[in-house]
Assembly symmetry: C2
Homo-oligomer: 547 residues x 2
């Protein structure tokens, strides 16, 4: 292995266990070349209205593509090669054997090389992400670039560790009294087979690479089926993995891109193919249940109802500002964004005395308004809305919960006058109003629920999560016993809790090598980035014995 | 922790990784007290026609029991306390919290103590096993005693290692340029909840303790539902775990025994209870599919069609004798016993020249006959037939495949004139005859299939296993390329292969700390003793963050 690959791998394996801060890829754009932003932008612009030829596939049946920039609200005009399902399957099978025969560290070297190639494309990928997802530039860069690459490296490193868990070969000698019984044994991690990774429209790279790299490191061929509206970012990543495979003398068809359109979806044809053994899925719960119902090995991230429990605070303004940022970031289109904020009718204890329920809601609305209306921060934090449906859903929520503490503020993006913007609305409801009505509030919408007291807040949050799942829970309390109670109650629903986040700590962020993303234990999804199950379910230990 | 527990745990963790020979509990009866056999027999005899009061449960609704000794063919008359399902669930919930709060090593200490208590009952358990399963004394002692305890220790040790995989608490410090962002984090392995372990009639202890101890070490309460015809061996184990819990100040209801009868089965009521989160199951594939269909976390060992591929041998007699023993051991009532023996029509190459197909079959029949008729070995190797149905199934196989190379030989047990004995039959069939007809051949029956050549043998074995699963595959070949071909082909069906076993190496035996029992990758079952999945699926990592 190259020195670079060995170093990254060893660091990553250690980091997985330590779970203190570690990042292999710097998250600040300024850590990269000075002209990288301009170069990335040019690369993106030069690609518009062209065929995406970097995949170097066999001659495709058709070239397809229907991506639309949420910032420009015009089509990108980029077309990708589409092959028949049978061709993807056949080519995956053909590429499989040689890859499966490679030792784990040799596979890791090729995959780390692909990440280094991806690193050279971070800015290219950033603009591709911006103009497919609507994320602001900074999130596009970080989430689709270094944070995604870190998550990929995390999967590779957990993979290597699991694959090296047992010796390749041992001699087992059993004392039998008068003689010894000696048997040579080997232990082989056998890959399960073709892996289908289904991407989502909002995080086309970040949510795709963990499953993609986890399947690759464990020896499986992968077919990536991106969301038809967010293909370009992951197409670049797939192209670079194929380049790395080719450079290593491997068959690039080990990783294939299978794009489709909304009108002619290919996902079910791939998912139901008998040779597809594993499915990674990120997206809505309806299709997620379909995927889980196929009873193949599957890894899902669906949706949840992330609660916030406000009991008592030190500095109420700091809390409201922190919440406002988490609500506004990418206009609530993150799976980790707060949705239901439970506040007691009696108000919130603070170091300046009790803040009444109404004051708390008003202060939160003000904090959101101030952030949204801040011309230097607002539009860049909000980004654009990926899908028109998200705005319709938010409007439906307003119809359902008509107590509006803050209506959506019209925001103009300084660089993109046609951007599809929709600033978050802050709604309120009584505990009785939401009982039995809880469902995911995805997008620019948050609901403040007035509860009898914190005990009711906790009980409602736990009930909602037990039924609908959650990826995050945010809680504010200055009371030790309440903190323990919240932690224990929410942890029983397998939901992690972030306590008293203010300043630069945001509930939306999950750091690779430290925070598990999704616990895998509730309805929000069955997979977790990257615990050992995420790796071990992709292969089977088989031990042979030789007398 | 006690020194003894620390030592066993550390040795076991190391052994799991090394996979060379290790046994914590000696398998030879002579390694124990001189009068242990007599004491165990007396304990068993004194228990007949009594209530089993060692569980010290609350006053039961009824006392039930319908076990019948396959050796005596009379009822044991032992009755066990039966409680309502709601009581088991409630008591499990009540015992859960304190146990879940214990650190992994403290749980391990209690569980290792329970194994030491079980060790003191090995002979008692051996006679209980003999007179419920029909196993010979030696297998009853080894499988239900030391081998079971080793498998339990294996589960405990993999459990401790997985539970200690991440630190309890860390401080995560992210450099943010002008300041550091510092967040305290904890990582908690949260147990999933009530675990139901469903036992089988033939290996009531060995097949039950891995799931039982795996659920316990990961912090879950367990309800053991034994097979109604094989309760006593595991009842003694459960009683000793309850004693160990009580001695440690824990609530003994953390482990409960839920016996039932064939007429009034309780398994589905327990399995379908919404508070039961996990199910371990060993038994027939029909009920196994029902268990898997509940879509709870489940661990199954069902059935398979274990193939034998005979290509070429050194000493044909040694091979036939080895096969004969594996066929006769416990009259084929082992999940690891050979079922389908594929032999080429052109015969078997040996160091003494080619052995024709007919000669091979005749020699195998002779080897079985000689073993069965050996008064010092035959009856003790065969044991008795646990269930009359097993004999009916064997007779049905003879009707289906009427070419009988060896009919069942009448055997009288020297100690138990009423023992239900049925010596193995050796049947033959052409490849065409079995095509499309393959199903599990459980019990005293083996089918020799005449194939065109070894390539067809391998292909047929692989197809059978891909469809029906297998736990073992035995192969004889002197050709390196053929060996590689068999290994690769069968490993792709996630079936381990044992090559060229003669002498004291038998395909039926899977050693704890070295051989995975069931790969978990084919239809024979989804669980494997004891890989990390067997542990990790029983709890969920949840990480909390504190600003």
């Amino acid at each position: 292995m190259s020195n670079k690959a060995i170093q990254l791998l060893d660091e990553a394996i250690a980091a997985n266990h330590k779970r203190t801060f570690y990042a292999a890829y710097p998250e600040q754009p300024k850590a990269y070349a000075e002209d990288a932003t301009q170069q990335g932008l040019s690369a993106f612009q030069n690609r518009l209205n062209q065929n995406f030829t970097e995949l170097h596939t066999v001659e495709p049946e058709i070239w397809i593509g229907e991506e639309i920039s949420p910032y420009l609200q015009t089509g990108l005009g980029i077309h990708y090669p589409s092959l028949p399902v049978a061709t993807y399957i056949l080519q995956a099978q053909q590429a499989w054997d040689a890859w499966a025969a490679l030792p784990a560290r040799n596979r890791a070297e090729v995959l780390v090389d692909s990440l280094e190639r991806m690193k050279a494309r971070f800015f290219d990928i950033a603009f591709a992400t911006m103009h497919t997802t609507g994320q602001g530039f900074m999130m596009s860069f970080q989430a689709s670039g270094p944070h995604a690459a870190d998550r990929a490296l995390e999967a590779i490193s957990v993979g290597v560790e699991e694959l090296e868990r047992y010796p390749n070969e041992v001699t087992w000698v059993k004392p039998m009294g008068k003689f010894d019984l000696s048997i040579r044994k080997n232990f082989k991690p056998m890959p399960k087979g073709i892996s289908l990774v289904i991407g989502c429209s909002t995080f086309p790279t970040w949510n795709t690479v963990p499953g993609l790299y986890a399947s690759l490191i464990t020896g499986n061929p992968v077919i990536v089926k991106p969301h038809p509206k967010s293909i370009l970012p992951i197409a670049i990543v797939v192209a670079e993995i194929r380049n790395a495979l080719k450079a290593a003398g491997q068959n690039p068809d080990l990783v294939q891109l299978a794009p489709d359109t909304l009108a002619a979806p290919v996902t079910k044809h791939l998912a139901e193919h008998p040779d597809v053994q594993m499915i990674d899925y990120t997206g809505g719960p309806g299709f997620g249940l379909y995927v889980e119902g196929l009873h193949k090995t599957c890894f899902t991230e669906k949706a949840g109802v992330n609660p916030v429990i406000v009991d008592s605070v030190q500095d109420v303004k700091a809390v409201q500002q922190n919440l406002a940022f988490s609500i506004c970031l990418y206009s609530g289109q993150m799976c980790t964004a707060p949705q239901y904020i439970f506040v007691p009718a009696s108000g919130v204890q603070s170091s300046d005395g009790v803040v009444s329920y109404d004051e708390f809601v008003a202060g939160l609305a003000t904090a959101v308004k101030e952030l949204v209306e801040n011309p230097k921060a607002g539009p860049f934090t909000l980004g654009a809305i990926q899908n028109e449906q998200t705005i319709h859903r938010t409007k439906a929520a307003v119809t359902k919960y008509p107590h509006v503490a803050l209506a959506s503020i019209a925001v103009q993006h300084p660089e993109f006058p046609d951007a599809r913007m929709y600033a978050p609305v802050v709604l309120t409801a009584s505990a009785a109003e939401i009982e039995g009505n809880i469902s995911e509030l995805f997008g620019p919408c948050v609901l403040v629920v007035k509860t009898a007291d914190t005990a009711e807040s906790i009980a409602m949050a736990a009930r909602a999560v037990a039924e609908h799942g959650a990826i995050t829970c945010l809680a504010y309390t200055q009371d030790d016993a309440t903190m323990v109670h919240i932690e224990q109650t929410m942890n029983r629903t397998f939901t992690p809790v972030s306590f008293n986040f203010t300043g630069a700590a945001f509930v939306n962020s999950h750091a690779a090598f430290s925070d598990f993303h999704v616990s895998g234990g509730n309805a929000a999804g069955n997979a977790s980035f990257t615990n050992s199950d995420f790796i071990n379910k992709r292969f089977v230990w088989v031990g042979n014995r030789f007398a």
